[in-house]
Symmetry: C2
Subunit: 418 residues, 2 copies
Amino acid sequence: MELITIGDELLLGFTVDTNAAHIARTLAAAGVEIVRRTTVGDEAAGIAAAVREALDRTGAVITTGGLGPTSDDLTKPAIAGIFGRKMRLDEEIAAELERRWKARFPSSGFPATNRSQAEIPEGARVLANRHGSAPGIWLEDESGRWVAMIPGVPREMRGILAEELLPAIRTRAESESVVLSRTLRTTGIAESAIADLLGPHFLGEPGTDLGSLPLAYLPGPMGVDLRVTAKGMPRDRAARLLEEAIVKLRAKVGPYAYGEDDTDLAAVVLQKLRSTNLRLAVAESCTGGMLGERITAVPGSSDVFLGGVIAYRNDIKTAALGVVAEDLRNHGAVSEEVALEMASGVRARLKADVGVSITGIAGPAGGTPEKPVGLVWIAVQAKELKARRFHLIGDRAEIRQRATQAALEMVRRALSNG
Amino acid sequence: MELITIGDELLLGFTVDTNAAHIARTLAAAGVEIVRRTTVGDEAAGIAAAVREALDRTGAVITTGGLGPTSDDLTKPAIAGIFGRKMRLDEEIAAELERRWKARFPSSGFPATNRSQAEIPEGARVLANRHGSAPGIWLEDESGRWVAMIPGVPREMRGILAEELLPAIRTRAESESVVLSRTLRTTGIAESAIADLLGPHFLGEPGTDLGSLPLAYLPGPMGVDLRVTAKGMPRDRAARLLEEAIVKLRAKVGPYAYGEDDTDLAAVVLQKLRSTNLRLAVAESCTGGMLGERITAVPGSSDVFLGGVIAYRNDIKTAALGVVAEDLRNHGAVSEEVALEMASGVRARLKADVGVSITGIAGPAGGTPEKPVGLVWIAVQAKELKARRFHLIGDRAEIRQRATQAALEMVRRALSNG
């Protein structure tokens, strides 16, 4: 199967192609492999050429983008042409589009540009869009070669993929070869340190079953993910080998592993808070709210997350958290003393069980030889009150992401030992 | 020119292809157009096929990825084969790699897998890598068709692109056609409403200079970006036409436009605060810190941003912001009254000049018929105190992003009128 993403904004690099990653991961999780991905601009000839080539190679193509109401939408006629189909107005879709429009803009007429979204190729099957206006389209020829077109708006793409496209593909894919993978997520340990821990041929000697599984190191601001992949074998054998590999990896890097696959460390921390019946509050300086944002990105966090204080300026650290002004003067805002006082201050003032604080120098300005950019102090008060110093690498955004992740990991460890 | 990104992790969607966006933008800014982008896995035949096809189409190809020390690196021999070249060990590169290795790991021998990074195709030019070990490679045939291979590690890719590859491409591209674009960023107005405002052929009738510029609508949680592109003309003419187009767009959508190109609304708000000498504080409920995070993502924000309160739970709204408990009971946390009290409360308690608050239902749970998911109240107190109700669409993440952007826009407007 191949994936084609359409849009000048993608080709010019104004938009990062997160749709492509989402579709590939979703299909991979269902055991369906994308063998090539192509991105083309909003130009009919280029779209048609890319789709024709992909059809010739694999006979199964998903496209995203180019289905909106505005005039740069050329995808449907371009692809209909490959199948020798004409476009026709689907009255049912048109009526539904008009109904939605009138519900939203009662006083304004239904524009002709929006009606064009109801045009579909002859003989196409509609993939219902419950999240927006442009429907998806499944087009197939007598020999079973197919193209599925879905919109590029991420919410609509995700909805149609899950509700319509994936079930359709799954039915067809059952007999095809499987690609499965599992990822162990670690944090607080460098890629090279893991490599040293594991050594070469960690999973097994080349040629053995386990040894033939590729082990990928995927470092990023959240830590290092370790991904093992099994290809071209029956699903149950792949699943068994992957389980063996993960058990082996956990035995070595267990203390640094906080979860698998998509697991977010914030969700792990929230779960630990719930199971220990403790409530959390945060005090943030250089991260400016990112820690609270990460935690509240998890639905249902309000049962154990109370809130916090963004103490970006020093006077707020004193007024809202009770940090001693003299400590700020003597040790500076980025210091063990201030981190400890922020954590215990927010815990006491918000009547929480656990307080966590971050204070650091995210850069690019503000560093000194004694306190360089990337220096971050993080403190946690659960049963005990403790602080740790970090030297984080990367630009401002990355330092803040790493600091947030490190704070979550300190809370996780405090709760695991408590 | 075409771009090929190589790696199983990209194809499987475990890594989002930010390299591709960076390269495309960098080249576009230099007036060089990428006409197609392809992603293939770590597999020699697939790499060779994609490169051969791209060469046939455009004669100019950049590849990233597949140059690291690990065993999945097949790019160089696969591409050398297309040009009929053999691989040879470059002794100079090998010596340099060994020197670096010994500096880093004095006690461990230089591994053979790393030495393979010093192998380059016969007749290739080396693109120096000052940021890592794998050098870039430029391979060209007698007819001037070329492939440039650079590593996939983002830092190394960016370095080689800026220092080696871009200068080489620029020299060749001078006679080629230019692609330039400008983007006007709007927020607080729907894509369809802009389309209605502008009507068809807004920039000019088809066939006229302005009318031939594609105008793209790029909707997202931050608002709708309007991008105009000029292709295949001399640079000064392209720049002049784009300026005319932007002036014309601003005349229609001016009140909704907060900036151009990469401009972040948070940076615009900070600049307005600076020029009016006002200091800001935030009170966040459903966004949980995202507004503070957006503001402090801008370097140097501490001169006008004081901090804020993440009042995720109701008792924190009362204790830390002075929201009247009775109002919470009578009107609920997501109400005009509570939003107003949060904004004025954080302004007073943090001694700020401007207070802004967000309270809403981000979902997926917590909605009711009267207060559905997506209902958000935002209040600002600058000279005046006012609140506005929003019905935001999307999933939890998107509702929070839209709420954050709407809050920034309310502050921008409050400061513009003040």
